[in-house]
């Protein structure tokens, strides 16, 4: 369960979020939509404990969460498989599992490549593979298919949809296609608030 109560976020003299209330019940799949800079990523970051609200309260009832970032965060000194394995046991025993997730996102051939050898779309798929490999209660996705080409996007969305069934999902997106494919609740930013679409 994720709950935002009267949450505001102010950076300097810019109010990013003003008194936002949002409730994502356990097992729900919620998508946040809105223009750039409206605070979608900030909400995800606050729910993940990476940022604190200026005021209000954020409650997250979950032990573990997986997060696919808008800009893939891969360790440049590790191969694609090692990056995925980093959230598993990070030992040789779980490397096959890491490879399995990479294969699932179409990166079987790239498992031994370093991030700098991968395209933007491939890096994003490694990030997604890592999020799916991690057995968390929550799955956060920030523009998960932004870098992907249309064909690959459909495949990855199908995989994510299947994977998100067992989890509570919170995602930020500009794409109605993504929101419809993955979420059962869509919140749209309007007049400084996220309201159900």
């Amino acid at each position: 369960m994720i709950r935002f109560e009267n949450v505001s976020l102010v950076y300097g003299d810019k109010t990013v979020l003003a008194a936002v209330d949002l409730h994502v019940p356990p097992g729900a799949r919620a998508a946040l939509m809105g223009p750039s800079g409206c605070g979608k990523t900030s909400l995800l970051r606050m729910a993940a404990g990476l940022a604190k609200p200026t005021s209000g309260r954020v409650t997250v009832n979950a032990q573990r969460l997986a997060y696919a970032f808008q800009e893939p965060r891969l360790m440049p000194w590790r191969t694609a498989a090692e990056n995925v394995n980093a959230v598993l046991s990070d030992r040789a025993a779980t490397l096959p599992e890491a490879r399995k997730w990479l294969a699932a996102v179409g990166l079987a051939e790239a498992e031994n490549k370093f991030p700098e050898e991968l395209s933007g779309g491939m890096r994003q798929r490694v990030d997604l593979a890592r999020a799916m490999a991690y057995s968390g209660d929550l799955l956060f996705l920030d523009e998960p298919t932004k870098e992907l080409d249309p064909d690959r996007r459909q495949e990855v969305l199908a995989l994510l949809r299947e994977h998100a069934k067992a989890r509570t999902l919170l995602m930020a997106t500009h794409s109605m296609l993504e929101a419809q494919a993955l979420a059962d609740q869509v919140y749209v930013f309007k007049d400084g608030r996220f309201i159900p679409a």
Binding site: A48, G49, L50, R64, L65, A66, Y67, F69, E71, R73, M75, P76, W77, R78, E82, A86, V87, D90, F114, E116, E117, Y134
Partner: protein
């Protein structure tokens, strides 16, 4: 290494040996400037004695121990001061002072507190620790904040964060500091030995050679210092090159 490079190196060495030999013959007084042949002969007579190797190994051991301890201390200080602002505020002036004080002042000051056999090791620690401290701190501060967020989200243990994120980020800074420190350790360690003349040390041999006006010995032992420094530097460079390629130290195995 190709033949051309070796030829060039040998020619450069021959040129400087020629300059040395010519200067010695012009001065024509062994006391002021012994020639390379006399020094080489003396060195050859030294290296066949057990005493020479004992002295060299004791000096080397003392200096390397100081370098290792200084490196460990520098890393610990960097970790502590990067983590705790209070510690940083308290210890930063100490770092500035240590960097500014001349080695000779340190040697004389520390001689009051510790024995002459221990002093070179302590001096090396004092010279090496601040350099490692500064470099490792710079490495810690340049660690990618986004990767640290990643480690928080996926609940990496402190050990995993240290070994998987900090170590590869700090690795190149640490290895570079080690390279700088080796020469520093060697020079400051021998200088401390010369000023404190501990038993069985290169510094003592240099001091006595100067005291008894044994210029050939002075040159021969100085040559030993130079050779040891070159060999150590080469060994360290090789180790750094190999370590630097490893992903765990920020390198790539492409």
């Amino acid at each position: 290494m190709n033949a051309k490079l070796w030829t060039r190196r040998i020619l450069v060495l021959a040129f400087w040996l020629g300059v040395w030999a010519l200067s010695a013959s012009l001065v024509d007084r062994e006391l002021l400037l012994p020639g390379p042949w006399e020094v080489a002969k003396r060195l050859a007579s030294l290296v066949v004695t057990g005493q020479f190797w004992r002295i060299t190994m004791v000096s080397l051991g003392r200096i390397l121990l100081g370098a290792a301890l200084g490196t460990a201390l520098g890393v610990l200080l960097a970790m502590g001061t990067s983590r705790f602002a209070f510690l940083r505020a308290v210890l930063s002036p100490v770092l500035s002072v240590i960097k500014a004080v001349p080695v000779a002042s340190f040697i004389l000051l520390v001689l009051i507190w510790v024995g002459r056999d221990t002093l070179p090791c302590v001096i090396v620690v004092l010279m090496v620790a601040p350099v490692v401290w500064s470099s490792v701190t710079a490495g810690i501060y340049t660690t990618d904040a986004e990767l640290l967020e990643l480690s928080r989200v996926y609940r990496f243990s402190p050990w995993r964060t240290l070994t998987r994120i900090y170590a590869p980020s700090v690795g190149p800074y640490f290895l570079s500091a080690c390279h700088t420190c080796l020469g520093l350790a060697w020079k400051s360690g021998v200088a401390a030995e010369v000023l404190t003349v501990p038993a069985r040390s290169i510094g003592r041999e240099l001091f006595e050679a100067k005291l008894y006006l044994e210029s050939v010995d002075l040159f021969a032992w100085t040559l030993v210092v130079v050779l040891c420094s070159l060999i150590l530097e080469k060994l360290l460079s090789t180790a750094i090159t190999r370590l630097g390629r490893r992903p765990a130290w920020g390198g790539r195995q492409l």
